[in-house]
């Protein structure tokens, strides 16, 4: 009954192609149109329309409760939209579940560590490699026989400096290492769209650079669409090509980092007078 699942991803419809410096003119990979979700009377994300293009790192900022993570959940399919659409390569994927969206190339790392606690660190990453390879429904081959999947998983663990800890159970890792593992799992999915939800939250100072370098590296590839929710303004400034500001569920600013940072509405809504100087 061994069964290879075809990968149902779109080929990347590129105009310029990688390395020609034409990233910004390419079609949007991902777009949300009028995306809205209501929880009872509360509208957590309200009519948000935005497009995301390959080769661009978009930082999504806003105060706590602004709807950033909820917006992520709507894009990756963890929550169903009340109204509006999510489009991937121009195709409406609003009706698809989280698993199908992942298979189409939307990869997501979670803000609250979300792992398989009693499986080993390596197994956590391997499950992502295996999902990407479409091996999940393979019933009769031995897990340990898929050497290429293991090597790939080890490679991604190495990337986040966790190679030595592959044999430990995920629950035994420190908070910072769990965050790194979360990033390794996202890398292992090899998505077209990377969604990082506060990847460095709760990390110690010396651990942060590993993750930031990785995000920088992904960005330098030029063909990845990266969405980043981040509170640390220095991180946002160093990485972002574009900033979207959410406030009370509304998109209140969208554009070039310097421009957005200096716009009065952002200063007031998000940064507050005191923090503005810091930025």
């Amino acid at each position: 009954m061994s069964h290879e699942v075809a990968n149902d991803r779109h080929p990347l419809p590129r105009e310029g192609g990688r390395g020609e410096g034409s990233q910004v003119t390419e079609h949007p990979v991902l777009a949300t149109e009028g995306l809205t979700i209501r929880f009872g009377g509360h509208v957590a994300v309200n009519n948000v329309t935005a497009e995301f293009r390959p080769g661009t790192l978009t930082a999504i900022v806003g105060p706590n409760g602004a709807g950033k993570t909820t917006y992520f959940n709507l894009i990756s399919g963890q929550l169903p939209a009340s109204a509006g659409t999510v489009k991937l390569y121009g195709e409406d994927i609003t009706h698809l579940g989280a698993a199908q969206r992942t298979r189409r190339g939307i990869g997501r790392a979670f803000q609250l560590t979300n792992l398989f606690p009693n499986l080993t660190v390596l197994e956590n990453v391997r499950l992502a490699v295996q999902s990407r390879a479409g091996l999940g429904l393979n019933l009769l081959s031995l897990w340990s026989d898929h050497v290429e999947a293991r090597e790939k998983a080890e490679h991604f663990l190495h990337r986040v400096a966790l190679a030595e800890r592959g044999g430990e159970t995920a629950s035994a890792l420190s908070h910072g290492d769990k965050r790194k593992l979360e990033v390794a799992i996202l890398l292992a999915l090899e998505p077209d769209i990377f969604m990082f939800d506060e990847p460095t939250a709760g990390m110690s100072v010396d651990e942060v650079p590993v993750v930031l370098e990785l995000i920088g590296y992904m960005k330098a590839q030029g063909d990845k669409t990266i969405l980043l929710v981040e509170h640390k303004m220095d991180v946002v400034r160093s990485l972002a090509d574009r900033i979207i500001v959410l406030h009370n569920g509304y998109l209140v600013a969208d554009g070039d980092p310097a421009e957005v940072m200096n716009s009065p509405i952002v200063q007031e809504a998000y940064l507050g007078a005191g923090v503005a100087d810091h930025v």
Binding site: S76, A99, F116, Q130, W143, L189
Partner: protein, 354 residues
């Protein structure tokens, strides 16, 4: 070679290896080592219950699904083969036909129950399976024209499996090579292959996804695994294996009835075997089934001996009176769950680590 047969899943504890080898050797040579009718019956029951408990562990221990419908699938297998042999006559084609119908029915039911209810919360799924299984048990006893009602159905088996059949006239180690022996080995090798098949499934990429779903289904879904598909497939596999176990039991007993297959007592036995042996490891099912069935069959006799030996101490003799064997069986369960919360296998493996 061993790696392939055991799917790379070794016992990982010397004591456990010894225990498993003892169970395996005991079962493989049972007709020669323990010639009595009762002993061989116990051995066959252990074989079937190893598979039954292992297939249940695929759901409970590996996927984290609590189902009470396992005996229903077991019963479908037993009744399928039994009613077919009863209706058509004692031929192999009747066995095959009964098996095919039973497997079809089991898979269909498992699929429907799975698709309709594996989306809901675990407790609701448990309740739904309980309801379906109860309904099925009532149905089996009400349709007495077909199933024989509460009395069940006795039936003839193909000639090669009848006690009167002799494969060779000579005896080996004082044991006649007759149909009963052939039936025993049909049960033994059937159970062994099913067990090894399950061992392969849980050590396949699919098996790891099941564990991932048990650990964190939300995250498994986010990795791109449609958990409903995986859960339903695990449900179907488990149901099919239980059906085959039921068919083996029916061939062994030459009888299918509600008490031996569909009763809730058996469901509880399976649960206890899996918990005592250790959830999430198939070896637990093997060790658990062997100990459980042995205790169920021999504890009473053991207590009778102890009680008779202790007549000098009336209090102890009274406490160990064979009529109280169920009480002591209960005490043994409580103690084993208390001292081995991760089951016998979990305990043995952690001993090694220390």
């Amino acid at each position: 070679m061993m790696t392939r047969i055991l799917s790379g899943d070794f016992p990982r504890s010397r004591l456990l290896t010894a225990l498993l080898l003892a169970v395996f050797a005991g079962l493989a040579l049972a007709p020669f080592l323990f010639p009595g009718a009762r002993a061989i019956n116990v051995a066959a029951t252990i074989c079937v219950f190893v598979v039954l408990a292992a297939s249940y562990d695929l759901l409970l221990g590996y996927t984290g699904i609590v189902s009470f419908a396992h005996t229903m699938f077991y019963g479908i297998g037993a009744y399928g083969v039994g009613l077919s042999l009863h209706g058509v006559g004692p031929t192999w084609s009747a066995v095959l036909m009964g098996l095919t119908i039973a497997l079809g029915l089991s898979l269909g039911l498992a699929l429907v129950i799975g698709l309709f209810s594996l989306r809901v919360k675990a407790i609701f799924y448990a309740m739904i399976t309980l309801a379906v299984a109860s309904a099925f048990a009532v149905l089996a006893s009400q349709l007495s024209d077909l199933t024989g009602g509460e009395d069940g159905r006795s039936f003839g088996v193909p000639e090669a499996l009848r006690p009167g059949f002799r494969l060779v006239e000579a005896e080996i180690f004082g044991t006649a090579i007759n149909g009963k022996l052939l039936t025993y080995y049909l049960v033994f090798f059937g159970a062994l292959s099913l067990f090894l098949f399950l061992l392969r499934v849980v050590n396949s990429p699919f098996g790891r996804v099941l564990q991932a779903i048990r650990e964190n289904d939300f995250r498994a879904e986010a990795l791109g695994y449609r958990t409903v598909v995986y859960r339903t497939l695990a449900n179907c596999l488990s149901a099919a294996t239980a059906t085959l176990a039921g068919a083996l039991m029916a061939l062994w007993l030459r009888y299918a009835g509600p008490q031996t297959t569909l009763s809730f007592t058996i469901m509880m036995d399976i649960l206890l075997i899996v918990v005592i042996g250790g959830m999430g490891t198939l070896y637990g099912a093997a060790v658990g089934a062997a100990l459980f069935i042995l205790a169920q069959n021999y504890l009473q006799a053991l207590m009778r001996q102890a009680s008779e030996g202790l007549t000098a101490v009336p209090l102890l003799a009274n406490l160990l009176h064979p009529d109280r064997w169920l009480l002591w069986l209960g005490v043994l369960f409580v103690l084993s769950v208390y001292f081995f919360p991760t089951g016998i296998v979990g305990k043995l493996r952690s001993l090694k680590r220390e």
